[in-house]
Symmetry: C2
Subunit: 349 residues, 2 copies
DNA sequence: CTGAAAGCGCTTACAG
DNA sequence: CTGAAAGCGCTTACAG
C-alpha cells in the first residue's frame, strides 16, 4: 500500500514520462491516445494509487462528479424525528448511491423546503456551492416549476422523479393513475361498492393523479357519484383519523378505503378498530406505499409497491449521461406492483 | 431574485470596492476588517446573492466543508435491498445533516466494505477524491485501526462513533456495557433466573461490550455460570432462529432473551411462537435497538434506545471544530434509554 | 487594517 | 496523437 499522500496528475505524468495533458486524456477516457501510452499511464496511476482531486477537476472547467438528490425537508425531518423511519429516503439512497458509484459519481442528499421562496433560496445556495452535474427532484419539488426554471437558468440538468411527460427533461415515474385504477378495480372485483380514497396533499401531483385514476375506474364501471368518496388528508395520521372517522360514522359508510400513504392506511386500521369494525371482514384497506412497517402491521397491509430505488437509479443514470454530453432526456415509466396481503377481502354485508 | 449565474468573489470585491482578499476575510469571518468595510462587503454579498464555490475554496488551500460519514456497506445494502428499512442510517443522516447544515457544511454519506483490504482501498479512493475535512466512522469501521491509521496518515480528523476511549481522537459512544447490565438487572428483578444473550458479530466491539455487561451483572448477582447463556448470532434473523431454537429446546430453556439487535429480537418472537411459548408470559425479550418496526411488532418490544442521531451530530460538531483549528478531540458519552414495552414480564414458572 | 502575488490540481481550447 | 499555455475561484502567506 502506497502511503504517500497527495499524489497529483503531475506525479503521474512524470512517472509515465508524458505530459499532464495526456494523463488527463487517459483518466477521462479521451480519444487520441496511443494504446501503448495509455497503458503506460494506467500503470503509473495504479502504481502510485492516483485518484484525481474532484475540486481541481471542477475548477479546471470539468465536471463536478456530484449528483444532488433533493427531498422534501419538513416531511423527512418529521419522519426521522418521530423515529418513524423513512423508507422513501432509504430507497432513494439505495438507488442513487449504487448508480452513482457505478459511474464514479458521488451522491449528495439534501433537504429543501416545500415553500417556494425558501426552497429557491436553499437550492440556489447549494448548487452555487456544490456545482453539481445534475439535480434530482422528488415530490413535491418535481412539480415546482420555479425550481425547475432555476436549474434550467443555471444550465444544470434536472431529473424529475414523480413528474410525467414534461418536455425536454428527464422524467421518471410510475403510472400513478394506473396503480390507483388497479387498486380500485381489485376492490370492485371483490364486490365492494362503497369506496373511499384518502388523498394526500394536492401539492403532490401524484396525489391528484391517483384520485383521478380512482374516479375514472368508478365512472367507467358505471358507479353512481357517491360510490367514490374522496377524503382530504395531508399524509398525516391525525388528520386522516378525523376524516376516516367521519366517513365510517356515516350511514352509508365505505366498505373499502384506499390510502395515499402508509401512515393514513394505519390511520384507517386504527379508526376501524375504534368503530369496532374488523379488517378485512368489515373494512378493506389498501395502502399506496409499501414501507417496512406495512409488512409488520396487523394485519399486514395490501399495498401498491412503488419502484422508488429503481426510479432514483434511472434518474441518476440519465443525469450522468446528460453530464457526459449524451442526450439523457425523456420519459421513463417504471412498473409498480399491487401486493395483496391481509387487509382486503369481499365485503361482509 | 438575482438570476445571474456564477457570481464570484471578484464580482463582490468590485461591487464593494475592495480587494478580493478582503471579501475572503469577510466570508471566512477573519479578523482585521473594519466594521464599515465588513458591512459594505456583506451588503454586496447579499445583493448579488454570492455563494462561495466550494471547489475553489478547497483548491485555494482552504477547507472542503465536507464531512464524510461512513457506514458498513454490506449490512446497509442488505437492509435496503430487503426493503427492511434502516433506522440507523436514517438517524445518521438526521443527526449528521442537521448538524452539518448548522455550520455550513455538507454531509456525504458513504458505504465501505468491512473487509479491511477493500475497505482501505475504498476509503483512500473517496478521501483522495473528495478531500473531506473530517471522517466519521461507525461500527464496525470505528474499531478498525487500519482505517483510523490511514486517516491519521493523511491528516484527516476522524471521529469514531461507537468506539470508547481511544486516545487523541474524537470518540462518541453510549455505555453499551451499562445498557446491557441495566437490561439484565431488569430481567433479574422481574424474577428471571435463566437468561440468554444473543450476541451479534464479535467484529463489533459493541457486541463484546454488551456481552461483558451481561456477564458482569450475573456474576455480581452471584448467579451460577449456566444462568447466562451466550448465543452466537451474526445480527441476522436466520442464524438467530437456529441458535434460539436450540436454546428453547433445551431442558433448562431460558425464560428471558436479550437480543443484540431488532432482527434477532424478532427471531426470538418468531421462535417462541414456533415452540408454543407466549411472550411475555413464557418468554421475555429485550432488544438492543429501537427501530420503527419494534414499536409496531406484536407485542411491542422492550428495547434499549440508542442515541444514534445525537452521537452522529456530536461527532460532526467535533469534527467541524477540529477542522476550524479548535481541539475537538475527547470522549463523549451520550445517554441511552431502556424503553419498557410489552415483551417483558415476570417468568411464568 | 488592507492589497498584490502565487499557487492549489485540474481541464479546455489551441498549437504542432 | 501529444504538449505548452491559460485559467477556473478561491486562500495562504507576505507586504505595506
Amino acid at each position: 500500500m502506497t502511503r504517500q499522500a497527495n499524489i497529483t496528475i503531475e506525479d503521474v505524468a512524470e512517472a509515465a514520462g508524458v505530459s499532464r495533458q495526456t494523463v488527463s486524456r487517459v483518466i477521462n477516457n479521451g480519444p487520441n491516445v496511443k494504446q501503448a501510452v495509455r497503458e503506460k499511464v494506467e500503470a503509473a496511476i495504479a502504481q502510485l494509487g492516483y485518484v484525481p482531486n474532484l475540486s481541481a477537476r471542477r475548477m479546471g472547467g470539468g465536471k463536478s462528479y456530484l449528483i444532488l438528490a433533493v427531498n422534501d425537508r419538513q416531511r423527512t425531518l418529521d419522519n426521522w424525528q418521530a423515529g418513524r423511519g423513512n423508507d422513501w429516503v432509504d430507497q432513494m439512497l439505495y438507488g442513487g448511491m449504487t448508480e452513482c458509484e457505478k459511474h464514479g459519481y458521488h451522491l449528495v442528499f439534501r433537504l429543501i423546503d416545500t415553500d417556494t421562496e425558501s426552497g429557491i433560496a436553499q437550492l440556489s445556495q447549494v448548487i452555487a456551492s456544490l456545482r453539481p452535474d445534475g439535480v434530482l427532484l422528488t415530490p413535491p419539488h418535481c412539480d415546482n416549476e420555479e425550481l425547475v426554471a432555476l436549474l434550467a437558468n443555471r444550465s444544470i440538468p434536472c431529473a424529475r422523479v414523480g413528474q410525467h411527460d414534461s418536455a425536454d427533461q428527464i422524467n421518471v415515474f410510475m403510472d400513478e393513475a394506473g396503480a390507483a385504477a388497479e387498486a380500485t378495480r381489485y376492490l370492485l372485483e371483490l364486490g365492494h361498492r362503497r369506496l373511499a380514497f384518502v388523498a394526500g396533499s394536492p401539492e403532490y401531483g401524484n396525489s391528484r393523479r391517483r384520485v383521478q385514476g380512482f374516479r375514472e375506474v368508478l365512472a367507467k364501471a358505471g358507479q353512481p357519484e357517491e360510490t367514490g368518496l374522496i377524503l382530504d388528508g395531508d399524509f398525516r395520521f391525525d388528520r386522516a383519523v378525523e376524516e376516516i372517522d367521519k366517513a365510517l360514522a356515516s350511514e352509508n359508510r365505505p366498505t373499502a378505503i384506499i390510502a395515499d400513504n402508509d401512515e393514513m392506511a394505519f390511520a384507517a386500521l386504527h379508526t376501524a378498530d375504534r368503530h369496532g369494525l374488523s379488517v378485512p371482514e368489515q373494512l378493506s384497506v389498501i395502502s399506496f406505499e409499501d414501507t417496512p412497517g406495512v409488512r409488520f402491521s396487523v394485519p399486514p397491509l395490501t399495498a401498491i409497491k412503488q419502484p422508488t430505488a429503481q426510479m432514483i437509479a434511472r434518474a441518476c443514470e440519465k443525469l450522468i449521461a446528460t453530464a457526459r454530453g449524451e442526450n439523457g432526456s425523456g420519459n421513463f415509466e417504471l412498473p409498480y406492483e399491487l401486493v395483496k396481503r391481509a387487509t382486503t377481502a369481499p365485503p361482509d354485508d
